[in-house]
């Protein structure tokens, strides 16, 4: 008995009829023409940027219909968070959008602070803005790298990962971890920025514009790149709004909507930056939007670093932030607060809140419901990738199957965030 038979060899997609596949996998995809081919892209397809399966109906090379099949990476994060205290649940937010853990942390931490009715210090706010914008650059670098690699521009991939490595090194300097940082905490940040961070950041700001210029040389006016991206996967501004798209997918269609401008958080209203917009709403416009966003992020990083206020990085509220280590040896009260916070955690009041931030992919929202205990009664995340993925059939219908990888790349989805 072969391995295939043990696993139910007759269940492979090729041997089932179209109707059986639809019934078995529940894609509910109407088939227009029996002559059309049903192709299963993924879940291990390299261009799906994770474990995404796309059931594609093809007429020759043209995509007639398409249905995303998600859930391969389901980890039950939202449910698991209900069993942890507010602080301990934070480590799980890192693991949703693994390309932008800092942004996830920020969304969750701001939600907890809003529920608790506290804020953070000016220095903590500036540190948050600085690191979140660094995270945006790093996330967009991975997007550009993989997007270009999908369309066979390989050297961009190598250069982007080189720069991302530098940013991850900065994160390691600050938080001790390259990716799963858990650096922002309710009421402030984990520890102040280390001394070595300043020179390293300035070095980054010095060399990054030249590196960005390199990417522009390789792609911006390259005729091959233009042919693969121009007028492909077009979505109008109205459609983008009705699909609920956010981030560069929405701004590429010319809709001026950025959470940082619309409902500022962490003092974004005091920074000087622009929201880059596209016109047509094709793959190329989304590419331009993200590249311009990276330039804006570099400017924001510089602004945040230049005006970095001095002072404490945590609020002076012992019911939320554990006391400093230097007080533990001498103050019994500090020891009691320390033990209470690390065992029970802090109790959030009854009520629910929603806090949205602009993550690299779009509107990252966190819904939190407290029931008066130290654990959240319900946590829900409005993740941008999940919503942006939903419009994939609209984007891809009528295009060639070879363009599908370009369209997936331009929506910049992260499957960890979709399935969570």
């Amino acid at each position: 008995m072969t391995l295939l038979q043990q696993q139910g060899g007759s269940d492979t997609v090729q041997e089932l009829t179209v109707e059986e596949v639809r019934a078995k996998y529940g894609t509910l995809m109407p088939i227009d023409d029996e002559e059309n081919m049903l192709l299963s892209m993924g879940p291990q397809h390299p261009s799906t940027h994770g474990v995404l399966r796309l059931v594609v109906e093809l007429d020759g090379e043209t995509i007639v219909n398409l249905a995303p099949d998600i859930g391969f990476l389901h980890t039950g994060i939202e449910k698991s968070m209900e069993n942890q205290t507010y602080l301990k649940a934070q480590v799980m937010t890192d693991r949703m959008d693994y390309l932008a853990p800092m942004s996830n942390n920020l969304g969750y931490v701001l939600a907890v602070e809003k529920l608790m009715g506290v804020g953070s210090t000016p220095r903590a706010d500036a540190i948050r803005v600085l690191l979140v914008e660094l995270q945006r650059v790093s996330s967009h670098l991975v997007w550009l790298a993989t997007h270009a690699l999908d369309i066979a521009a390989m050297s961009v991939f190598l250069y982007c990962f080189r720069e991302r490595e530098y940013i991850l090194d900065l994160f390691e300097m600050v938080s001790g971890q390259r990716m799963m940082n858990t650096y922002f905490r309710p009421g402030g940040v984990w520890r102040d920025l280390p001394e070595e961070f300043g020179p390293a950041l300035e070095q980054f700001l010095d060399f990054m514009p030249a590196r960005m210029a390199d990417y522009e040389t390789l792609l911006k006016d390259n005729p091959i790149w233009l042919q693969r991206t121009k007028d492909i996967g077009i979505i109008s501004g109205e459609d983008a709004i009705s699909w609920g798209l956010t981030g560069a997918c929405l701004r590429g269609s010319g809709v001026d909507w950025d959470i940082r401008k619309a409902t500022p958080y962490c003092g974004y209203e005091t920074y000087d930056f622009e929201v880059p917009l596209g016109t047509v709403g094709d793959v190329y416009d989304r590419y331009r939007c993200r590249i311009e966003e990276m330039w804006q992020s570099l400017s924001l990083i510089r602004q945040a670093w230049e005006k970095m206020p001095s002072g404490p990085v945590n609020i002076d509220d012992r019911k939320i932030v554990p006391p400093p280590r230097s007080e533990l040896g001498s103050s019994m009260e500090a020891v009691i607060h320390h033990f209470k916070l690390w065992t029970e955690g802090f109790q959030a009041p009854k009520g629910y809140i929603y806090q949205a931030i602009e993550s690299p992919r779009g509107e990252f929202g966190c819904y939190l419901r407290g029931d008066g205990s130290a654990k959240p009664a319900r946590v829900h995340f409005r993740t941008p990738s999940y919503v942006n993925l939903a419009c994939l059939p609209t984007l891809a219908k009528g295009t060639f199957v070879a363009d599908l990888v370009a369209i997936i790349g331009s929506t910049d989805i992260v499957l960890g965030e979709i399935d969570r």
Partner: protein, 176 residues
């Protein structure tokens, strides 16, 4: 659009420009590291394998309070405490950890145990090569985690004078 702009956007200009960018990197030193031979240095705050620290006098810092186990989001730590006596003293104060185990398969290296520890006993060090052949080796016991005493100080347990080591929580500085 002028002729120059047309020319600048044509294949005959763009492809050589891209090639030149790529070619520029041929003459730069590689940024990759030959990993098993050359190890990447980690930063001061790096969160790697845990260490159980000792005082300069050789006594263990861990007082068996289990706060690290309570703070662990992954339930990776197991601590069992026993009583210190002046004849058999492991750590200052009343209690010490007789069993201390960390399941490295569960650990997510968030560093909450280090933050929660009231005596700076557990600290995340700089070791990151933590592969093993079977699951049982993933359980790091106290003997594997604890540091050796420095400066030729005696190890624990040891006999101490009564009434000297009474304070469990030492005076500490804020971590950098």
């Amino acid at each position: 659009m002028s002729l120059f702009d047309d020319l600048k956007k044509s294949v005959f200009f763009q492809v050589p420009a891209g090639m030149a960018t790529t070619l520029k990197h041929v003459f730069k030193p590689p940024i990759t590291i030959r990993y098993p031979d050359v190890k990447r240095p980690v930063r001061y705050r790096y969160k790697g394998r845990h260490h159980l620290r000792r005082y300069d006098n050789g006594l263990e810092k861990c007082i068996g309070c289990s706060l690290c186990a309570a703070a662990c989001p992954a339930d990776a730590i197991f601590v069992e405490a026993s009583e210190n006596t002046d004849e058999e003293r492991y750590s200052p104060g009343e209690r010490y950890a007789s069993t201390y185990e960390i399941n490295m398969l569960r650990c997510i290296f968030c560093g909450y145990c280090e933050d929660a520890c009231p005596t700076e006993a557990i600290q995340l060090g700089h070791d990151y090569e933590l592969a093993y052949y079977d699951r049982a080796s993933a359980i790091y016991t106290k003997g594997m985690l604890i540091d050796m005493p420095i400066n030729g100080m005696p190890s624990t347990p040891r006999q101490t004078e009564p009434g000297v080591f009474t304070q469990s929580i030492p005076d500490m500085e804020d971590p950098k």
